[in-house]
């Protein structure tokens, strides 16, 4: 019976329960096994496909692991300098106000070098969606300490663990932007389990729908893992994330529009 189970016997129209989003390209993603970026890209692509807004969407990619995101999304995209994605998105949206504009940024990009751009875009209430992937580490450059690295957490530039006295405190960017009058919808999610993936997808959809209302910035943090940078297996990294990241960065909504 085992011989009969092969891709040929399984891949039939009647067995199809899920298909690759048409908003993703056929390029193979470069992300490490178990990394959350692929799932985050996928749900974002699915929402854009389901809302049928591919031709009205412009994305801005960061510097970091997802710098090459434009290779994977079948969208018009601009690649920003480190931390500057919200500045690009500000101009794109103001010049093309009928388009959907999003940025996709990691923690080093958004919460360290791009802090000013993040806060001022949110404070001006730019009608854009900011997706913030927080895995507490600089993945692309080889696992250095990020602004969101937890106290005691080891990285290549905090090899004995983050010492708050010496290296400062982990920054809760989502908590900060939620206090700004310019933000309209602020939430923190994850993509490590099917139920969480569904919630994240729902949040992204809501954010794009809110963008039509011109009510302000939507900000979605996705707490994610970095198996390579954390030096763990994918399964270990997800467990570690639940036990260590979630208590400090609790999942849930920070700011939800009242009229919706």
């Amino acid at each position: 019976m085992a011989e009969n189970i092969s891709p040929k016997t399984i891949i039939k129209p009647e067995n199809l329960v899920h298909k690759r989003s048409s908003v993703l390209t056929d390029n193979t993603m470069h992300y490490c096994p178990g990394c959350g970026h692929g799932t985050a890209h996928n749900v974002l692509a699915e929402v854009i496909e389901e809302m049928d807004i591919q031709q009205d969407t412009i994305g801005v990619t960061p510097v970091g692991c997802s710098v090459l995101m434009y290779n994977y999304m079948n969208l018009d995209m601009q690649e920003a300098a480190h931390g500057r994605a919200p500045a690009l998105a500000t101009a794109i949206k103001r010049l093309l106000p009928e388009k959907y504009v999003f940025t996709y940024q990691g923690d080093g990009d958004l919460a360290a070098i791009g802090t000013a751009e993040t806060i001022h875009s949110c404070n001006r209430g730019e009608n854009i969606l900011i997706i913030f992937i927080n895995n507490g580490i600089y993945g692309m450059t080889g696992g250095q300490m990020a602004p969101t690295t937890l106290e005691g957490m080891k990285s290549s530039t905090s090899p004995y663990g983050r010492d708050k006295q010496m290296m400062g405190n982990p920054l809760k960017m989502t908590d900060i932007v939620a206090t700004l009058p310019g933000t309209y919808y602020v939430t923190r999610q994850s993509v490590h389990k099917p139920a969480n993936v569904r919630k994240t997808k729902k949040a992204i959809r809501k954010a794009f729908e809110y963008q039509k209302l011109n009510k302000g910035t939507c900000f979605i943090e996705i707490v994610s893992n970095c198996p390579s940078g954390w030096k763990m297996t994918p399964v270990e990294s997800n467990k570690w994330m639940e036990e260590n990241m979630f208590p400090f960065y609790p999942l849930g909504d920070f700011k939800v529009p009242e009229d919706k």
């Binding site: 969407t57 601009q78 300098a81 101009a91 794109i92 388009k99 751009e117 001022h120």
Partner: protein
């Protein structure tokens, strides 16, 4: 808006000219001596006149990256600043050059280094013409020497920037920015309704996705891209050199100067000729591409050249490269925000070139 004669500051003239040239977006940040550009635009409400977007950014860094975003959508985008602010913009400018985006950057130069002073200077020549940020790239650099040229160069800068998909800089100075002169303003041009084929405007089914980036991790491809950029700069050098000659026909000595210094040199030439010294002026209008051939040609005619700049001597290096040792080339200029006067120029010509 019809053609119109007004009395304006250079900074105001360029702001009005930007609206009339059909600029889609301006992103700026206040700094002396160019804040009038942003102030004028905010007061004029160009959004009501043409639909132009004007935004005061949180920093020069954010402003130049807004320029990148807007330019990536194929729009006519402008920013302005003065020396310390232009230094902050250099990261964005090299990304814009690397992504081959057209845009207009105005630098109303003040004395440096550091916070320096707020008075006029020409000490950003190297930064403007040799790249400024990291990597092998050049800006198209235009140097106005009057309020009229501040206005006129807006359209020229856009035309060249879009023709070559390259950022263009108007390299002015605090004197041109602040002084008032008569200026003819062109009639209002409509903002373009069409985007270039490469612009990010949303991927439609009839074309591949458009990506604006300066990244290519494959070094072979990156080298090919650099070769393409260099070809572009070579083409600019062949086709886009602009300059003006003043009393060069019978000149035995040549002053080379741009912007405010060129204005001073016109007076210096008058004074020199009253003393029987046949001096002429070659005024580069494009600093990149530089009028190398024209200066080389003048080296066959004159006995020496003086590069007059309000700096420690920056353009003089390009003059020397053009002349290649054929005749003596010296520099004269004041620094730190002091505008050179005509008498000093004549004196310097006598001591450094004629007597030397």
């Amino acid at each position: 808006m019809e053609k119109e004669l007004r009395l304006m500051k250079g900074n105001e003239a360029i702001a009005e000219a930007a609206i009339r040239a059909g600029t889609d977006g301006y992103f700026g940040y206040p700094i002396t001596p160019q804040s009038e550009v942003l102030e004028y635009l905010m007061a004029e409400k160009p959004h009501e006149r043409t639909g132009m977007v004007v935004l005061q950014a949180e920093s020069e860094v954010a402003a130049i990256n807004m320029v990148y975003g807007g330019a990536g959508c194929g729009k006519k985008i402008m920013t302005s600043s003065s020396s310390p602010g232009i230094s902050l913009k250099q990261e964005g400018i090299t990304y814009i050059a690397g992504a081959e985006l057209p845009c207009l950057i105005l630098n109303v130069v003040r004395g440096g280094p550091g916070l320096g002073t707020i008075q006029p200077a020409q000490s950003d020549y190297f930064q403007a013409t040799k790249g400024g940020g990291h990597g092998d790239y050049h800006l198209i650099v235009l140097a106005p020497s009057s309020v009229q040229e501040m206005a006129d160069f807006v359209e020229l800068a856009y035309d060249l920037a879009f023709k070559y998909r390259n950022p263009a800089m108007i390299l002015s100075d605090g004197a041109i920015g602040q002084m008032m002169e008569k200026v003819w303003l062109k009639p209002q041009k409509e903002r373009s309704k069409e985007a270039p084929a490469w612009a990010t405007t949303g991927k439609t089914p009839d074309r591949e996705r458009n990506i604006i980036t300066s990244l290519d991790l494959d070094s072979n491809k990156q080298e090919q891209f650099n070769i393409k950029l260099q070809d572009k700069y070579r083409e600019m050098k062949e086709k886009e050199v602009r300059y003006e000659e003043f009393q060069c026909d019978d000149a035995e000595y040549l002053l080379v100067a741009y912007g405010t210094s060129a204005r001073v040199c016109q007076k210096a030439i008058q004074l020199a000729r009253e003393e029987g010294i046949k001096a002429g002026l070659l005024r580069p209008i494009t600093l990149f591409p530089f009028p190398t051939k024209e200066i080389r040609r003048m080296a066959d005619q004159v006995k020496g050249m003086l590069s007059v700049e309000m700096s420690a001597g920056q353009m003089v290096e390009d003059v020397r490269l053009a002349v290649n040792g054929k005749v003596p080339v010296e520099h004269f200029g004041r620094m730190g925000g002091i505008v050179t006067n005509a008498e000093e120029v004549v004196e310097s010509l006598k001591t450094k070139i004629i007597g030397g």
